[in-house]
Amino acid sequence: MLASPSSSSSSAGKKKKAMTKPGLGDQEETKWRTAAQQRIYGRRLVDALRATAPSGPQAVKELADSALALTARGQSRWSRAILLSRRRPSCKFLLKARRGRMQPKPPPPVLKRGAPVSPEGKKVSERLRLLGRLVPGCRKLSAPSLLEEAADYMAALEMQVKTMRALADALSTASLNAAEHAVSDELPLLADE
């Protein structure tokens, strides 16, 4: 529905073969840092907030993450993981099935061979595992793709933080302004009573 500037039209079900591979760094950075993306995301978030009165901070966070994942248009693994887990929490099997189809390469952790024999390699592999736990949907992912996902996720998070902060500030000022007006309007009323 929204025209994302740098991403082609792809639904969550499509395979992303070579979309993010070429021009790895530049694409991702510009993808998330454009003002257009921020606006898109912000609008989406605001609409969501308006539509559903969030019950608490967790709900807001989930909303925010879903909106972010939507803005990613399902091109990255973490966005797909978020969307699929949020929409139908009961359909985890669906998630697995989709993963099986969508994965262009099988990601078994090949970290045992070769590098992690040394103690430094073990630290590295530990940290990679930790990172995999942080990024949604990337627990069992090979190192290069994990790093790719992490880069995308980081850029997206940055954008999210920026947008949410601006939104929160604007809302707070707006509410204050509204409250001001409310006060000024109320007082005469109260006085009358």
Binding site: P57, L130, L131, A150, A155, V161, R165, L167, A168
Partner: protein, 446 residues
């Protein structure tokens, strides 16, 4: 006559230009098997010469070489002299000048191949056939012939022959200083492997040299690993445990060598020519990919330009991602409290500049509010994710929830309230408890 004619022939051949690598490869490949069987000593040389000469390329100085090499008379005496060291002295050696001229011409890889044309080499090869127990010297000669691309081999051979032929050691630096640099560390590794493999049935290894030689040449031309293939064949042979051990050592050594540089991914690239077989090649590719991605991430994470090493870098990345996630949580909490009324739009809320999220927004607030307290309340949340920001949120929550806003504003803005003394007292009575809370919080906060 025989000496004279080949000049013309050679000239013709050579003037045709440098043959493509394949030409040389085929000639060499045809030479290699024939050179080794002891029966074909003289033939070997002829073939060597015949095969190699046409592809040597333009070189005025090659004439004497061709002449000398082609003359079987001179070569034959060297056949039997296998055991007695290197019969190099007998060969009408190419004067150093010729070799230098060879090297001076930037034939690149062909220059390396030209080294094989060196009479010394050929003589060594011939002696090898007869006197295998020469050990390393012959082995390295064989290795040099086999891996003619590999200048390291040449250099190693040179170094070992230095005693007998001091002239040659410095001359055939055909590949340039870079190759020489590679030679010393690999020399020891390679020499053992070569020696072991050479002593074992050379025919089998030689058979596989053809594709390896071709591949090696092409790979060297591409600037990739040069000796990647040879140990592979050694492995494929499985001729002796020694060889396998040598190769494994090489493999381990190489993998460990190439394992270390990528750890320090910022400074060092994986060394050229380190991968020995398909496994380590694939690993190397994989490691390069990983280091590429790490560089990407390094650009994303602020302030990680000086960090070196995968582990520390990953640490930073993890911390950064965690902090970003915490920020999102905090902001979502804030948004939950300042939840919108339905009558606003995103565009109206957000100023045109999305980039300046932290800076100018409070300024607009400051212009509206005269009190410091409110300014504080609004300013603090923007300063970061520290927990003390939660306090103004609580205050806001209380205010909004308890409809404290009038009192809040009243307590905050004294001049404003002063104009409404009568109403304020009434309101004060009405909102007594809440007002106290608000003022209490104000005092606390101040």
């Amino acid at each position: 006559m025989y000496c004279g004619q080949p000049d013309q022939l050679l000239d013709l051949n050579w003037n045709q230009g440098m043959g493509p690598s394949g030409h040389l490869e085929s000639s060499l490949s045809s030479i290699a098997p024939s050179s080794f069987p002891p029966a074909a000593d003289g033939m070997a040389f002829h073939k060597l010469m015949g095969g190699l000469l046409p592809s040597v390329g333009n070189s005025g100085e090659s004439r004497p070489i061709g002449v000398r090499l082609n003359s079987p008379n001179k070569l034959n005496p060297y056949m039997p002299k296998a055991s007695g060291g290197l019969p190099l002295s007998g060969i009408p050696m190419m004067p150093a000048s010729h070799l230098e001229q060879f090297s001076s011409r930037t034939y690149g890889h062909l220059a390396a191949q030209l080294g094989i044309l060196d009479a010394e080499r050929l003589s060594r090869v011939s002696t090898l056939q007869i006197g295998l127990p020469e050990g390393r010297k012959e082995a390295s000669a064989v290795g040099g012939l086999r891996m003619d691309i590999n200048n390291a081999e040449l250099m190693s051979g040179r170094e070992e022959y230095s005693a007998s032929n001091p002239a040659a050691s410095g001359e055939l630096s055909l590949g340039g200083p870079s190759k020489k640099r590679k030679a010393p560390p690999r020399d020891k590794v390679k020499a053992t492997g070569i020696a072991d493999s050479a002593i074992d049935p050379p025919t089998a290894t030689v058979e596989e040299d053809h594709p390896s030689a071709k591949r090696c040449r092409s790979t060297e031309k591409n600037g990739t690993e040069t000796d990647a293939v040879k140990p592979k064949e050694e492995q494929n042979d499985g001729c002796s445990s020694n060889k396998n051990n040598g190769q494994k050592k090489q493999g381990n050594d190489n993998s460990s060598k190439s394992g270390e540089p990528p750890k320090d991914y910022i400074h060092v690239r994986a060394r050229r020519g380190q991968a020995t077989d398909s496994h380590s090649l694939a690993e190397r590719v994989r490691r390069e990919k990983i280091s590429q991605r790490m560089k990407l991430l390094q650009d994303l994470v602020p302030g990680c330009n000086k960090v070196t090493g995968k582990a520390v870098m990953l640490d930073e990345i993890i911390n950064y991602v965690q902090s970003l996630q915490h920020q999102v949580e905090f902001l979502s909490m804030k948004l939950a409290t300042v939840n919108p009324q339905s009558d606003f739009n995103f565009e109206t809320l957000i100023p045109k500049d999305m980039n300046q999220t932290c800076g100018p927004v409070p300024n607009s607030v400051y212009s509206l509010e005269t009190s410091e307290v409110t300014a504080q309340y609004i300013h603090q949340p923007q300063q970061g994710t520290s927990l003390h920001c939660v306090l103004p949120n609580d205050i806001e929550i209380q205010n909004s929830l308890n409809m404290l806003e009038p009192t809040f504003h009243r307590s905050a803005r004294q001049p404003f309230i002063s104009g409404f003394d009568t109403t304020s007292s009434q309101l004060g009575a009405f909102w007594e408890g809440d007002l106290q809370n608000a003022t209490h919080l104000d005092i606390e906060h101040n």
